[in-house]
Symmetry: C2
Subunit: 354 residues, 2 copies
């Protein structure tokens, strides 16, 4: 039996993707060779890389708008650094909505003046600050659209003339947004896009080349654009599985189609958190993430029984992050509604039995 996998990332991917990935490790494209033993410059792998890049732009509605999609290594965490190296000339503005935003801020501080326009640290990041102002002379304004640990999500793209940069690691490809409002979007693959080991960067070319410093080759977006993500050996397996997952999403009807499913899952989940007197939500209701629902037991003494029910129901990965405690149900693209229903059922069962 497959588990109901609510892991926060790495996380559930479509079953058919796993199956194809497993087969490709034995024999890729009928070549008589494994996917992982062929040259990254072979025509079979170059086709994978091109397909992955073009699916990204297609799904985000960014074709022919001056954007490039890159598949890099180093995780979203290396992008905290690369963003600043490539874009921060004098001053950058950041919105501090959690652990990841704070880490992004820390790295950028090495490169220039850092304006934290607002922070929800005062309330353990359980809400998204609003009504802040962005310095008009900032080189860019950095946001984290979905805060994986705290379970908050920015619902409206901020309206500004400053170049928008976003860490979308945990909600990319999950909902419709006007992605052309962003100068740069990055995301570790290991939530909605693929396995751990590659990082997507989508960048509008005309925002690059404006800083005065010399950028080390491996951090320089223009070099990676010029080499089409093949400046050095790419993470072949992670790019391939990402391509398969993007293809799965396209076949399903794209972001528009998955957004409906994600809404239904999130509404089902939050309805039970609110209804059930034994649970309370962590995030401010208007800022609740559709990807990661964070919630706590009203009475900690129910923990043992609830964990037992979860185990019996084959539920995996609902322990909350230590910064929040309690539970976190991550409901990424590949998680079926059925899994959410199973979780809701054991919440009801706890209510009956406790």
């Amino acid at each position: 039996m497959k588990k109901h996998n609510f892991s926060a990332g790495p996380c559930i991917l479509p079953q058919e993707v796993m199956k194809k990935a497993s087969e490709a490790v034995l024999d890729f494209n009928g070549l008589g060779l494994s996917l992982i033993e062929i040259s990254h410059r072979s025509k079979d792998f170059v086709a994978v890389m091109e397909q992955a890049q073009s699916l990204v732009l297609e799904l985000l509605g960014l074709e022919n708008k001056g954007y490039k999609a890159l598949f890099l290594q180093g995780g979203a965490s290396l992008q905290f650094l690369s963003v600043a190296y490539n874009l921060l000339n004098r001053k950058a503005a950041y919105l501090n909505t959690g652990t990841w935003a704070s880490k992004a801020i820390k790295e950028a501080k090495l490169f220039g003046e850092l304006v934290e326009v607002a922070s929800s640290k005062d309330a353990n990041f359980n809400y998204i600050p609003k009504g802040y102002s962005i310095p008009a002379d900032a080189d860019y304004f950095h946001i984290t659209t979905n805060n994986t640990i705290f379970g908050t999500q920015i619902k409206e793209v901020p309206d500004t003339d400053v170049t928008l940069v976003s860490d979308m690691s945990s909600d990319i490809f999950s909902r419709q947004l006007d992605f052309s409002k962003f100068g740069l979007i990055y995301a570790g693959a290991q939530k909605n896009m693929g396995p751990a080991g590659t990082t997507l960067v989508v960048v509008k070319e005309d925002i690059l080349g404006k800083v005065e410093r010399t950028i080390p080759s491996m951090l320089d977006y223009r070099i990676h654009i010029d080499k089409e993500s093949m400046f050095n050996t790419p993470p072949v397996f992670a790019v391939y599985v990402s391509m398969l997952t993007l293809q799965w999403l396209k076949d399903l009807g794209g972001i528009q189609a998955i957004e409906k499913k994600n809404e239904e899952k999130a509404k089902t989940m939050y309805a039970e958190i609110d209804r059930n007197p034994l649970f309370k939500g962590f995030a401010a209701p208007e800022d609740r993430s559709y990807m990661n629902a964070t919630f706590n037991l009203v009475n900690e003494s129910h923990k043992e029984l609830f964990d037992k029910l979860a185990k019996e129901a084959d539920i995996n990965g609902i322990n909350g992050h230590r910064s929040v405690g309690g539970y976190r149900a991550s409901m990424y693209n590949a998680l079926p509604l059925e899994s959410v229903q199973v979780l809701v059922d054991i919440m009801k069962e706890l209510e009956r039995k406790a």
Copy 2:
């Protein structure tokens, strides 16, 4: 039928490793979950990471000698940068033996004075310079033990009091060396260790912490040591497959055992290159790589026939790099002697038919 895979990297890995990797993508450790959908902080994956790190130190004979093994992202190319960020305070010395060494030098120049102690660029890097002197006040001396593109290999570890740093991407785990002579060793996984997507760094802890600059978190070896290669999400699949390959090598008898096999393969190959009047070796005989044999046709008009024979024999990946032309037979750890014999056979066949 499996191909005879001479690819320069990504390259052949043991068949049993491919099989286990393929199975783990469907179900890992009988968990009812794929390897690529579980948390990297789960006990099953933490055990993989620990095992991989400890196998590295065991195989290199570096246990209890002050070294740490790290599995990072970014390829050997990102290490060109990280090495300099962490170790170059004022001056560094580099031996220029090829494309990769040149790239390492380029990145390091951003951080201090760069002394190129010697270069074989004058002869298209077909030999290893000798008799150079290393400035005693250099922070470190950087070498590339095996030059994948040109097919040369450093046979003796240089004797010096300066901290030795080596890019061993294409010959790590292939031959016995006194690895304790090195302060830092790095290698992209995709030759003798695993698939593309992770990079091994083995570092002696006491060489760190001596530079004055602030090191960005993702490039700081001390942070990765402190977090045991889990500062951010590691490339789960690549680390797992590397662990399997290291385990395969240990079961086979370790580096001592594989070195014998590698010697036999290389001797078989070079004997035919020398014997056969239709071929000539590219590298200076005393500097020939046991991993990558580079050779050319004496008469280019034989190319079409030779390529046809190679294709018919199910030989993959012997085209030379464009900087050298001709052919390159990469004979990494997992390549069986039988494959070398098949290649030698078609070289003899060419001689008969041409």
